[in-house]
């Protein structure tokens, strides 16, 4: 059985769904903790999630996860049923978080193809201990409300056979799954699997949900029909089905003992006696009421999840199409021909290609929200551990960036927030002594600025100490005598060097000095950069500048010799054909030009990259004024070829591994099938300065 069900698609769905649910649970626990009490809808939500994870983990034969989920479920079952008044919110949250972390870790192991082998014993003991305390505190030790499933149960073997106290009744249950939940047969299998916990005498239509390929359609059309023998009451049964995921409607009918389920569905449906006695509407209302606080169910129904890999492929294909479109419409064979109808169709094609491209781009855009909300947890953990009071403020979480970028900035963001919370924010006493509000504040802000997204992490902690950083840097040999002349910005940038850490003591959260250089590297990898501003005693602001997308830029193609280069349009200020007498050289042979009273250096791409062909006389070419972050430079090229949207591709791995070429951001395919090199203006200008 194990081999049969451990196949990939199912595991993928399991991992995806479980991590989403854990994420959701984490967020609600954080919210609750801020409230200081557990409202009943949160308890219900956690109970339901834990129940789902318990069952699905058991189905995937991941017993340690299942057991943890089960124990947590028990605790919340107790809370739901008995509504204890004294709840130690903080300890409880810690326990829940510990459980979440444990399960996340196991998920990660499974994702990496390893065995989920974590030992849940200590955690389970802790939770049970807490449940006991909870009961004692609320004088409910003798409560009946213990989830009537033994804890160390083996889930794939039906147990609880002894639980037949009263006369078993027979029910017929018709389950309708949510319209878009997909994989109905597996949902049905989960139901069957769970059902084994309460009874072992039941029949289902379709009977074999896993191996019967038609059953998905059958279940979609007729629902999943079960006939169950159980001593439980109808309400209990209904409650039981409500705990399961993706069930939209439940119909339960008590059957006469003598009546047997029919083999043929059509026969069964024609039976008058099993027409639903309960009004459907009220049932549905009841279901929706229960589901409503749990998740935005209606929203998730209109969403599907697609693997990023497919999106990447789609993106590449659309990129190819943009190029092919240019190849067709700008085909040299068409030159000089008057083709009215062709031009019309070509325009239409262009329009559709552009729309398609925009659409694909927008699919890949993901809001930063979830990434930001993850920081809640980090701040909470640190403030608790270090007994600091920290508020996390989140602004602009709806800002969207490319999916790939989100993945790249998650870790850096975490490092920075950790650093701020750990090293930046002072303890409450220190803060009061300094006349600051008791609780420190970390602000996470995202906003759009032109073609870039700014992510600002601001704290009102003690700020960076120039002297402290310099001392440390000197100690580690990162700077020499020039230290005294460095500007504040230069000094602050030292923290991004490998092996730099100002904190003397290494804490659990940060201080190993490996964080910030990784941050810088990751941000640079997506073409962004980092700015640090800080006032000692008042706080630090770290700004991450991230390009909106990695995939497509508005480019200007230029030619130098036989090679074509692409400049991002955003960087171009103007272009003009210079006159020889305007150009002059200084004593170091640096070429310059005077434009409207301003003097700009000239950079010849031909000399810079040692291109063998191309214009050497200044009057034969064109100057393009490029505005970088720090400096403006005039680039000398042979000619402008025209504006075009280009799909940015990275240089092949082989070349990347060999050498990082300064000033090159990547390459792209042009309409004529040629390759153009995309220039990185800032890199180019910085390099020029270096050479001087």
């Amino acid at each position: 059985m194990a081999e049969q069900y451990m196949n990939d698609p199912m595991q993928e769905v399991f991992i995806f769904e479980t991590s989403q649910q854990l994420e959701q649970m984490e967020q609600s626990v954080i919210k609750t903790e801020a409230l200081g009490s557990y409202p009943s809808d949160t308890i219900n939500e956690i109970f339901r999630i834990m129940h789902t994870i318990k069952s699905s983990a058991a189905m995937m034969l991941i017993n340690n996860m299942s057991v943890v989920a089960h124990t947590t479920e028990d605790m919340f079952y107790f809370m739901r049923e008995e509504k204890p008044e004294l709840i130690d919110v903080s300890t409880l949250s810690d326990l829940v978080f510990e459980g979440i972390d444990f399960m996340k870790m196991e998920l990660q192991k499974i994702k990496n193809g390893a065995e989920a082998d974590g030992n849940p014993e200590t955690l389970i003991e802790k939770i049970k201990e807490h449940l006991k305390i909870l009961k004692e505190n609320n004088n409910l030790t003798n409560s009946q409300a213990v989830n009537n499933e033994p804890v160390a149960e083996k889930y794939y073997i039906s147990s609880n056979k002894a639980a037949k106290i009263s006369e078993p009744k027979t029910y017929q249950v018709i389950l309708q799954f949510e319209a878009d939940c997909g994989m109905e047969n597996i949902r049905a299998f989960t139901v069957v699997h769970n059902l084994k916990e309460i009874t072992d005498s039941f029949k289902s239509i379709p009977e074999d949900v896993i191996n019967d390929p038609d059953c998905v359609e059958t279940i979609k059309r007729d629902g999943f029909i079960l006939q169950i023998d159980t001593p439980k009451s109808k309400d209990k049964l209904e409650a039981f089905f409500h705990t399961m995921a993706f069930i939209d409607q439940i119909e339960i009918v008590e059957l006469d003992k003598t009546m047997e389920i029919q083999e043929e569905i059509c026969g069964l449906l024609s039976e008058d006696t099993i027409i639903v006695p309960q009004p459907r509407e009220s049932l549905r209302a009841c279901v929706t009421n229960k589901e409503a606080p749990v998740s935005s169910g209606s929203q998730s129904q209109s969403m599907i999840s697609v693997s990023v890999e497919k999106l990447d492929k789609l993106m590449n294909l659309v990129g190819e199409m943009v190029i092919s479109e240019a190849m067709v419409t700008q085909n040299p064979d068409l030159k000089g021909l008057v083709l009215d109808n062709f031009s019309k169709s070509a325009r239409q094609l262009k329009k559709i290609t552009n729309e398609l491209q925009d659409m694909v781009m927008s699919i890949r855009m993901v809001p930063l929200g979830p990434t930001f909300f993850k920081m809640n947890r980090i701040v909470r953990d640190i403030s608790k551990k270090l007994e600091k009071e920290i508020n996390l403020e989140i602004l602009g979480e709806e800002t969207e960036v490319d999916k790939n970028i989100i993945e790249q900035i998650g870790d850096p963001l975490m490092h920075i927030v950790r650093n701020s919370a750990d090293h930046g924010i002072e303890t409450a006493e220190t803060r009061i002594r300094q006349g600051k509000p008791r609780a420190g504040t970390i602000t996470l802000e995202a906003k759009n600025a032109g073609g870039e997204v700014l992510i600002i992490i601001r704290d009102d902690g003690k700020g960076l100490s120039r002297d402290g950083i310099l001392e440390k840097a000197l100690e580690n040999g990162l700077v020499g005598d020039e230290a005294a002349n460095m500007t504040d910005t230069e000094v602050f940038n030292l923290i991004f060097l490998p092996g730099f850490s100002t904190k003397e003591a290494v804490t659990e959260f940060s201080g190993r000095g490996v964080g910030m250089d990784v941050v810088a590297k990751n941000i640079e990898a997506v073409g962004g950069n980092i700015l640090v501003e800080s006032v000692e005693g008042q706080g630090t602001t770290i700004t991450l500048k991230i390009p909106l997308t990695l995939a497509i830029i508005e480019g200007m193609n230029i030619r130098v010799g036989e090679t074509c280069y692409t400049l991002p349009i955003m960087a171009i200020k103007e272009s003009f054909i210079p006159k020889a007498q305007e150009v002059f050289r200084d004593t170091d042979q640096n070429e310059m030009i005077m434009i409207r009273g301003q003097c700009y250096p000239i950079m010849r791409l031909k000399e810079h990259y040692k291109v063998k062909t191309g214009a050497t006389e200044i009057e034969d070419g064109i100057l393009i004024m490029l505005e970088g972050e720090t400096k403006t430079t005039c680039l000398f090229a042979d000619e402008l070829l025209g504006e075009q949207q280009v799909v940015v591709k990275t240089l092949p791995k082989y070349i990347q591994r060999m050498k990082k070429i300064d000033g090159l951001a990547g390459c792209t395919l042009l309409g004529d099938g040629n390759i153009s090199l995309i220039l990185d203006v800032n890199g180019l200008i910085a390099q020029k300065r270096l050479k001087n």
Partner: protein, 168 residues
């Protein structure tokens, strides 16, 4: 020229069914014949327009487009320290893929696919320190002819080492 390549395509296709082990694609540079393990070879194409990339070693000719995929091209002649030679209609690019890295190798022309059993390959005698020696894994015998069996992995990976040495 096209016919020539078609021929190779067919050749490779025909061998798809059989095991690819022990098969080598041979090509010539000057008077020597070299063999590349066929499992690394994805295709053979004619020489195409190559875009130069600055600041790279001379043997990396640049990048070219292979149906939308951008791949680097290495001139094997220059890689082995042989003199430059004009590309002609026989010049081909052998596209090889090793551990996710795709590289085009420019050679004077490809010859054939031959099976060389492992026992027919003898170790390289440690004679002199010529440049190309490090890439030769062994010497294969095909009848009376010899083929220098190249270590594909080394051909691509050694660059890194070399670069490091240069930097040090």
């Amino acid at each position: 020229m096209a016919e020539e390549f078609d021929e190779f395509d067919e050749l490779e296709l025909a061998e798809d069914d059989e095991t690819e082990e022990g098969k080598y694609l041979t090509f010539n540079l000057d008077n020597e014949a070299y063999g590349l393990e066929i499992i690394y070879v994805t295709e053979i194409i004619g020489i195409q327009k190559i875009t130069e990339v600055p600041e790279l070693p001379e043997y990396v000719k640049g990048i070219m487009s292979l149906r939308g995929q951008i791949i680097p091209v290495v001139d094997v002649r220059l890689r082995f320290g042989k003199p430059d030679r004009e590309y002609d209609e026989r010049t081909c690019v052998i596209v090889v893929e090793i551990s996710d890295i795709t590289v085009g190798l420019i050679v004077d022309g490809v010859a054939e696919v031959v099976a060389i059993p492992e026992e027919e390959i003898v170790a390289h005698p440690d004679l002199d320190e010529t440049d190309s020696r490090q890439f030769v894994r062994g010497i294969g015998k095909v009848g009376t002819a010899v083929k220098l069996i190249l270590d594909c992995q080394k051909l691509l990976e050694d660059d890194e080492m070399e670069n490091h040495n240069q930097e040090v």
